[in-house]
Symmetry: C2
């Protein structure tokens, strides 16, 4: 029998403080929980995983540069020293807004405030069946699956006598020219050219084809057109083939159709877009683009001022910029901190932040394109190349959570840079369910 009231049995004495339930511990959920550390509330964080995942580096797991543990940190460890925080690993199976109740299997949890931060899933735009041939990359298991699949393809190419088949195994198609697609394309090209080429005797992995497809007119559409141009040049410089303004019209077991042409590949990876986690579709509230909940200016759900949706699952047009808050970690993180402040103030009797509404502060954007190449935008400043790459590295390491992770990631990157090797080249098999 599952426990009905986790926190009442906690080592710390039970309290009558308002309970803030946080569903999902990505950037939004985690920063909300942390921002409530000193508040007179009880914080209960629920996540399907036992770890917070640094999603921006997931493509490095998929391309064998980092191991999963390098970019994941147990949620319990992060919140260890926060006495008002409780962690529950579990899958939310139902949300009843009217009764202020969240179900996690047999456990029924009441709340005074609810922060929904379940994140996003891959969006196949009505072609769910494409998922089987063109996996996306949102979870650790997706990344290790893609890694095994692409490393396996090089192995198969080495043994394959048929030229066309070998070429199809050495062709990697990435659909979607956002940061994930751009970074993954660069990483796979480098893997094939610099890292593994000398390991193979027959297959010439240097000639592996990496094709990056973007339906829109430019890569990194969220960045300035100059950065897009810069990214395009650096991708081409690296040897990545690009297709701009050409949507993928079909996905097969052995390739894609793009611009009327059929490209054969056993490694199609989907990075074309996301939609909100299906959890929010059960709420029965209006949703906007990408199935995201159309939240009020204070990130609350219309009609439920105590319920907030933040991060990738929320759709909010910032009234200052008149632009939607972007689905990036900074957006989630800022929303998390904001709703925490709203709650803290409300517990203290103030409504200032709630009335002011959430406003996104754009600190800039960046994307890396293989080793020593990147594009960076910080305010009016835009630059690319080696300096941008250093800035990218510095920022990503500094925001990684966990001292050990920083050391491990820095070590792997320096090692990879100096020796052109990657440390996580494992082809793993499916494991059983626990």
């Amino acid at each position: 029998m599952a426990n009905q009231d986790l926190t009442a049995r906690a080592k710390t004495s039970a309290s009558v403080r308002p309970r803030v339930l946080i569903v999902g511990c990505g950037f939004g959920g985690l920063f909300a929980a942390r921002a409530l550390a000193r508040a007179a509330v009880e914080v209960l964080v629920i996540d399907r995983n036992n770890y917070h995942l640094f999603q921006p580096l997931l493509y490095q797991v998929a391309s064998a540069a980092l191991g999963p543990a390098d970019i994941a940190q147990p949620i319990r460890t992060i919140l260890r020293t926060q006495p008002n925080a409780f962690v529950m690993m579990g899958e939310v199976t139902g949300i009843d807004l009217a009764r202020a109740r969240v179900d996690v299997g047999e456990s029924h949890l009441s709340f005074d405030y609810l922060i929904l931060a379940p994140g996003a899933v891959d969006n196949y735009f009505g072609h769910a069946e494409w998922h089987q041939w063109a996996p996306g990359m949102k979870e650790v298991e997706d990344a290790t699956y893609i890694r095994s699949r692409l490393l396996r393809s090089f192995e198969t190419a080495e043994l394959e006598a048929d030229t066309a088949q070998r070429a199809a195994h050495l062709c990697f198609v990435i659909v979607g020219g956002g940061p994930t697609g751009v970074e993954l394309a660069g990483a796979i090209k480098e893997l094939a050219v610099d890292v593994i080429a000398r390991d193979f005797r027959v297959a010439d992995t240097r000639r592996a084809r990496v094709l990056l497809i973007e339906a829109g007119p430019r890569f990194l559409p969220a960045l300035h057109p100059a950065s897009s141009r810069h990214a395009l040049e650096q991708l081409q410089d690296l040897g990545v083939e690009v297709r701009l303004g050409q949507p993928v019209t079909e996905v097969f077991a052995d390739g894609v159709e793009v611009g009327g042409e059929r490209v054969r590949s056993y490694n199609v990876i989907w990075a074309a877009g996301v939609r909100a986690s299906s959890l929010v579709s059960t709420l029965g509230v209006p949703v906007g683009p990408g199935a995201r909940v159309q939240v009020m200016p204070d990130c609350s759900v219309p009609g439920y001022p105590q319920v907030f949706v933040i991060g990738d699952a929320a759709y909010l047009v910032d009234s200052k910029s008149d632009r939607p808050v972007p689905g990036v970690s900074q957006g989630a993180l800022q929303m998390g901190r904001y709703v925490a402040r709203v709650i803290v103030e409300e517990v203290q009797g103030s409504r200032a932040s709630r009335e002011r509404g959430f406003h996104y502060v754009d600190w800039g954007s960046m994307a890396t394109i293989g080793k020593s190449r990147a594009v960076v935008e910080i305010g009016p400043l835009r630059f690319g190349g080696f300096l941008a790459w250093l800035a990218w590295m510095f920022l990503h390491v500094s925001v990684l959570i966990g001292f050990r992770n920083r050391i491990a990631v820095m070590t792997s990157w320096i090692y990879g840079y100096v020796f052109m090797r990657r440390g996580s080249r494992l082809i793993t098999r499916p494991t059983r369910a626990w």
Copy 2:
């Protein structure tokens, strides 16, 4: 269509040199391949995995101290600079000794010499059905499965209201008191007491029960009785419960029966023994204890002087010591080097090593029992405690293959020692098959 003759298509020109086929790239297979580096032969290494696994540290993956990539190195990378070595990732599906042919799926490979080093699998001694509840630990996937399962048990205990159920989730039973069992018991006890205790609010993981069961009269039976006593003291000192001379008589979904008593546990781990990989049972040659092939003094298969079985899959009573060669990495490694020498000499027209036969050199044994504790035997020298632990650490890091792995493992160990944390605390889900 699979390639019928891999090496003929290789970048290096095809040769008429004798082909040595090596099946399995554990310690035996790898050291045989390396020892053939300068021989006028063509070496073809076949393995199910793309990596060589440092199995002695697999228990550290299961107990969340290391990640899989820390103890695995791509076989291709290890043999990159050995021009006469070719690597093939694949599963051997048939061996025909009379026709000197090995099948890997659709590929039929001929050989002049065959070295079979497929290793061992868990031995449930006629109770194969126990596997589902008491997984063993031979592969990376086994270790990450056990890791996910035991970390998951702590999470479940935290939420469980029923006292008996909670106790069953906080009870870890390890069956088998060899090095793997002893090391795993110590590592799990330390995980529960030192590493994660402060992360949980409700469950008192310090009181987690770790039970180590050995059917025989002492732990580490391959070592001197004084070392066994030393290990026993250190295990008890750490808080591990021990059962000696009591075999497990039944395994259930929720526990084991031992000494007539039923112990409830959702984490039973099998480390009670191994038997040869089923690959060698298809050869149709006499097998000895543990289904191992009874090889000739030169490690060859009776009647087939060009076919060798080495490592855990071979049974050989050393004529000098009158004792069987132990199923440890040193045994496999020495056999691998020996058969390589036999082949090298035979190609050059000599039979000296073959006629001398294989003789095992015992360099000593060691096992670690949690942090700062170990037992070490080197020749007549026997010692335990902190110094033994330092020796254990030094040896294991120094024999790890790959410069990066050494750095990564040392970093993880130092970090774990200083901060009492473990870097790979991920509960992962099953992935799909590629």
